[in-house]
Symmetry: C2
Subunit: 467 residues, 2 copies
């Protein structure tokens, strides 16, 4: 997997632990189970536990901890909910895990400006629960109820990025502690700015390697007056993808447009007792006024028919929408039942939409040839899809074959003008693909920035191939 | 003004000119008029001419020129159409101006992916003319027909950023030459990515201080099936701003929402022979299906009435739309007639929308108290507005008072959680406000990045306060 332990600065880490223990007492936790849980990843990557875990309660405490760690060259690894998929929270060189669960305050909501200022430990669902009565919501929705700090660090997105964008588009500003202990405010609360380098977007997706995020200002959206949902089956992945392309070219402001492949539909039919045709399925959602969302679903129906779609159904009633989208909501759990006992390992390529059908079809063909059970779900409006490889984690040979497949698919996506990661990030496993994707110039620039901002390489070392 | 000549590396520049002349012959131009034009700014900043101008014809030539200049520590200043407002193309330490007018090829248009790959010298109007038959357009529309490379470098936007975003949102990827001569490809053509640091957005808005942009991949939008335009007069700036806030909170997907203040309306009435009430005016545009844009304009009419608006008018017919928006289209030229012979100097603050009415009103009050003639136009959906101070450029005392006003307004916007620049950039004049706005941490980080990427400080030195 290309994940290795890195050289440990034993004496520096030991001294940092001593100093931190003097300062924070029992709040510096070193129990084995807790440490292992903080170096735990939700993919096949092995756990690499930090030496200690601490839950900072304020930005000032983060500054203090970082200064102590920097003085003794001990690594610092920020931790949200631990739901990242690419080993982002692993501690290959040891060090201190900063768990943000106690920095979970919603500091301000500005309904007129449609923004909120929060601490990084707030989860997306907690924020949306808090916002319920304001008529506003935060749209970015990865599968897990992740912390918003972690979502910013990995540049997460989800099913409605096609309408509302990713974390890159929805973080207005943030505060982060640099390795020097200095606090950076990246931007003002204005909705647009040309003031200096875009440090906000440099930090978003930097996976904890440039600074420790301690505050986020997020854009909010108005809860739409009406929502319509639509589903339609297609004879082939190509037909479904062509419907996606036409829908977006037509300018339909689709809020969600998701693809399930035939295998995934079969899994859901069994799991959720549905009787959908076992062919590729598109699920859509439109947000707007009552009249607009009805019209939009209707226009999509016409496009779908033109592309050979069948079984087009749409509704604006909430309970019917839930039923219509059940196949998508149950997709992950349904997929796992295809091979009981197996663990799902997800790919994350994203290609130009014109190449999506070709990429998905090629992936399906090779998955079948290699004998994998691996249903596919796609955020197809963005050209992003996940094949969930169901793997027996006790079988090293099978894991190696999965790894080979993933490498092949990443290279295929890159050759199509795409990326190895649409929303999961680089972390530990994908560093080599990053270099293939962007080439030596970009790596040189990223490494120069990393060295300039974190010359001691104490911030989340061993990630993104940056040191 | 805070604009100064910087120390010149005379011998290095002389050697670089010699080497470049040997290589490029008469293509290295040193005529005084041409040089002055390339250090010319469209604001009050004094011209600081480069030592020579060259028009590169390929990325390889840019690499070659940058390598020669780096070897002899001669500054390199990229030049698009010279329409930036903050001295971005000035050469305070001398050096070579790279004029991109000959790198103006549209390299590829991918209609299915809704993107285009272009050279930086293509102007926004040239791109949209080229796209005319594809049903697609590029939405970012600053006042000038600027080059897209320059628009990316300054993070430009315009009237429809509220719907389509700014350059930050519409550059998918770019290529840039680093001071080392190395070429960086910042991202793939995928519509979303979590692959590494967001070098695309770091470059956008970096004002030529980190790399020389030689290629851009731009997101395109579908030309809407229908457009509706609406205008409405309001008794006060506050009433107009409250209508803006409600419109956006309601989730109306407004494509444009512009404010003219009473003085600007008076100017347009005279200039364009209109008879609008001389009170604040909002102009809106909606993009979508025929039914949607009619409904949206209608919903806005209701909001406007609730906020005390009067004279609400809307239309979807193209010739009527043009007439309805005439007040906005003619705003700049109409403003200039308020004081014949004067030159317009534009402010560019952007504040959270909740503070917009207060900020505009305070600006109006002080402009009146100071005796300035300065109509206001605002991209109010974003909280961004420009007061155009009409100044006698032969009167140094008046210029000094204008400078004082601008500083006061920048500080006011910053104190309201806003920025000194929504879309014009920092350039030479605003470096001190950048520091006040973001504080020492952000400046430290920006300077560290600048030093790491451009250790010799040869890329557009003297801009953004970064060296």
């Amino acid at each position: 997997m290309g994940i290795h332990d890195l050289p440990r600065n034993e004496s520096g880490i030991a001294t940092a632990l001593d100093v931190l223990r003097q300062r924070f007492g029992a709040r510096l936790e070193t129990g084995q189970a807790l440490r292992a849980q903080h170096g735990h990843t939700t993919t096949w990557l092995a756990t690499q536990a930090p030496d200690a875990v601490i839950c900072p309660q304020s930005t000032e405490e983060v500054q203090e901890i970082v200064r102590i760690c920097a003085a003794h060259r001990a690594p610092v690894i920020p931790f949200g909910t631990g739901t990242s998929l690419e080993g982002h929270v692993n501690a290959p060189a040891g060090g201190i895990s900063l768990d943000f669960k106690e920095m979970n305050a919603i500091l301000a909501v500005h309904p007129e400006d449609m923004d909120a200022v929060i601490q990084p430990g707030v989860t997306r669902k907690a924020l949306n629960t808090h916002l319920r009565d304001t008529g506003l919501f935060f749209p970015v929705d990865p599968g897990a109820d992740a912390s918003l700090g972690g979502m910013a660090a990995t540049s997460a997105s989800g099913t409605n990025a096609v309408r509302y964008g990713t974390m890159k588009d929805n973080v207005l500003a943030l505060k982060a502690v640099l390795p020097s202990g200095e606090l950076v405010q990246t931007a003002s609360r204005a909705r647009k700015t040309s003031a200096g380098y875009d440090l906000t977007r440099l930090m978003v997706g930097s996976e904890g390697t440039l600074g420790i995020i301690t505050e986020l200002t997020l854009r909010l959206q108005g809860i739409p007056e009406a929502i319509s949902a639509a589903t339609c089956s297609f004879p082939s992945v190509e037909a479904a993808c062509n419907a996606v392309i036409l829908t977006i070219q037509y300018g339909l402001p689709v809020a969600r447009i998701e693809l399930l492949d035939a295998l995934q539909v079969r899994a859901v039919n069994t799991y959720s007792k549905l009787d959908l045709p076992e062919t590729p399925l598109l699920l859509l959602e439109f947000h707007g006024t009552e009249a607009a969302v009805t019209e939009q679903a209707d226009v999509f129906g016409g496009i779908a028919a033109e592309m050979g779609g069948s079984g087009f159904t749409f509704t604006t009633r909430e309970e019917d929408r839930t039923k219509l989208w059940q196949a998508r909501h149950d997709a992950y759990w349904a997929a796992l039942t295809l091979r009981p006992g197996a663990k799902g390992i997800s790919t994350d390529v994203c290609v130009p939409v014109s190449r999506l059908a070709e990429c998905v079809s090629a992936a399906q063909a090779r998955l079948a040839a290699d004998g994998f059970i691996a249903p596919i779900v796609g955020h197809v409006g963005d050209g992003n899809f996940h094949s969930l490889l169901l793997i027996d984690m006790e079988n090293p040979a099978e894991i190696a074959r999965a790894e080979e497949f993933i490498g092949w698919l990443n290279d295929l996506a890159i050759s199509m003008g795409g990326t190895c990661t649409g929303e999961h990030g680089i972390g530990q496993g994908k560093a080599k693909y990053l270099e293939r994707e962007l080439g030596p110039g970009a790596m040189e620039m990223m490494r120069a920035i990393k060295r300039a901002v974190d010359p001691l390489n104490i911030l989340n070392p061993g990630k993104m191939g940056l040191g």
